[in-house]
């Protein structure tokens, strides 16, 4: 479903991605792990075209992302941003229904609103929340709204960028469970980037570790726990000693 081949990206002299090769089969949940500043978010943005790769190819269902029609290409995706990225100026329901009210798949306002309320219910929020503005919500509620927005148009592929960052452990667990449930329910292909090992275990079918600009290791969660790879071992156990420098 998602295929990356030799993806490179540098910002000035800082080569963030140095040849990323990755395959995410349709309907599976891939989690990318790696330390802070290793380029996980850049990788997601390269797939979406928010950042243009310097080299390499991104294919979605066999279609080259660079040559695909932009609107149709983006219509395949939903994304939950690290900080939720809700639009401050719009009430919650309009945030959720944003895509439904514009573009080729535009629907009548009442219908879009009904779908938004249903998606809010799916993530555990009542219809009264739809009338609030993002600034009136807690961090956990904002994540739920972000999740509702990501799934509102029922995309084939959903990206989750650090979905539990900044949440307390209970709320993080709730969000992890919601992600897993929704991805399974929708049969979507999911790609999550995180350094929260609890999220990895909750949502991953496959795990890939990004380090030094390349995918250093891939495997299932069970294989991750058993791997002798010193980088993976150090990362998943949170060890200060090991091949990954603790000061980066």
């Amino acid at each position: 479903m998602i295929e990356l081949a030799g993806v490179h990206k540098a910002f000035g002299t800082n080569a963030v991605l140095r040849g990323v090769d990755l395959l995410v089969p349709r309907g599976t949940s891939m989690v990318i792990i790696g330390g802070s500043g290793t380029g996980k978010s850049v990788l997601l943005k390269c797939i979406l075209g928010l950042v243009r790769p310097d080299a390499g190819v991104v294919r979605i269902a066999g279609e080259n992302a660079r040559t695909a029609g932009r609107e149709a290409f983006l219509a395949r995706f939903g994304m939950l941003f690290q900080g939720s990225a809700l639009f401050d100026s719009l009430p919650v329901w309009q945030n959720v229904a944003f895509r439904l009210m514009r573009g080729a798949t535009k629907r009548p306002r009442d219908e879009a609103r009904a779908i938004a309320i249903e998606k809010l219910r799916r993530v555990g929020l009542g219809p009264e929340v739809g009338e609030l503005y993002p600034a009136e919500l807690s961090g956990g509620m904002q994540k739920r709204v972000g999740l509702a927005r990501a799934i509102a148009a029922e995309p084939e592929i959903i990206f989750f960028d650090e979905p539990t960052t900044g949440l307390d452990p209970i709320m993080a667990g709730v969000i992890d469970d919601l992600i897993r449930e929704i991805v399974v329910e929708m049969g979507a292909t999911a790609m999550t980037i995180t350094h929260d090992m609890r999220t990895v275990r909750a949502v991953a079918d496959h795990v890939a570790m990004l380090h030094d600009g390349i995918i250093r290791w891939t495997g299932t969660v069970q294989e991750m726990d058993a791997t002798p790879d010193p980088y993976v071992h150090q990362f998943i156990n949170g060890l200060a000693q090991g091949p990954i420098a603790s000061v980066r």
């Binding site: 943005k45 979406l48 075209g49 928010l50 932009r70 609107e71 983006l74 219509a75 995706f77 939903g78 994304m79 941003f81 690290q82 900080g83 990225a85 809700l86 639009f87 401050d88 944003f98 895509r99 514009r102 573009g103 080729a104 927005r149």
Partner: protein, 260 residues
């Protein structure tokens, strides 16, 4: 080598300025292309028009009122040197409509609107809201920049027209209450010597200044650096850029509109 260092620095500065000019020009051209091509975001346009036009009315009105009043006093005192006190009404009217109304109105809108747009869009950029727009199949240039630029281009001339009227009224208030002009004579002289092009040229300037203000706000906001410092720097650059461009374009427009 050290002898060439200042030349190299100068060269880098010039190249940097040329590159920035090119980027702003491309941004402006892209914005204009989105203004004339569907889809159109009417709700965003109306919101921007309200924010830029209606909400700027108090500051533009007060600026015009005090400027017209001060102008009447200055012309009266200056005109007294060669017994030309009677030109106060016409000079206030011409000065306000041709020059002070659009320029001071433009500068006040630059301070209020360019900063506001740059801060809003800059914050949207650093909180990934602009990226979110893209992932929701919405072009940020079309959704954020085009409605604001069109709204400013349309509403600032209206602000200028209102400001002109208030400025002339400020001059009339001072003329009648402070300088002992006859009210009817003051108004008669104002109308008699004011030509339609005096007002029209000010409105043209207003449209150009409105375009500049929103362009600078959108450009610097959407290209804001990271964090609070990045947004602060973008806001400052938008106000400074808009103000300088307003003053520079005012001279060019005056040359074009009133040459010969």
């Amino acid at each position: 080598m050290s002898l060439l260092a200042p030349v190299a620095r100068l060269g880098r500065a010039v190249l940097g300025a040329l590159a920035a000019t090119g980027r702003v020009a491309i941004f402006a051209a892209e914005s204009l292309s989105h203004i004339v091509r569907p889809p159109f975001y009417g709700r965003e346009f109306l919101t921007a028009a309200l924010q830029i036009g209606w909400m700027s009315l108090p500051v533009v009105g007060l600026t015009a009122l005090f400027t017209g009043a001060a102008l009447a006093l200055q012309i009266y005192v200056g005109g007294a040197r060669f017994n030309a006190e009677s030109v106060v009404p016409s000079i206030v009217a011409i000065g306000m409509t041709r020059e002070l109304g659009p320029v001071l109105g433009g500068l006040m809108v630059a301070a209020r609107v360019a900063s506001s747009i740059a801060a809003e869009l800059g914050t949207m950029k650093v909180t990934e809201q602009i990226d979110a727009l893209v992932t929701l199949s919405t072009n940020p240039m079309k959704y954020l920049a085009a409605p604001r630029i069109l709204a400013a281009t349309v509403t600032v001339p209206v602000l200028v027209a209102v400001g002109d009227s208030i400025g002339i009224m400020g001059g009339w208030l001072v003329g009648v209450n402070r300088l002992d002009f006859n009210s009817a004579t003051y108004l008669h002289n104002t109308i008699q010597f004011l030509e339609p092009w005096d007002v029209g040229s000010g409105l043209v300037k207003g449209a150009v200044f409105g375009f500049i203000v929103a362009l600078m706000g959108c450009y610097y906001g959407m290209n804001s650096g990271r964090g609070a410092m990045g947004v602060g720097a973008a806001t400052k650059a938008a106000v400074v850029g808009a103000s300088v461009l307003i003053l520079a374009s005012n001279y060019l427009l005056t040359e074009v509109l009133f040459s010969a």
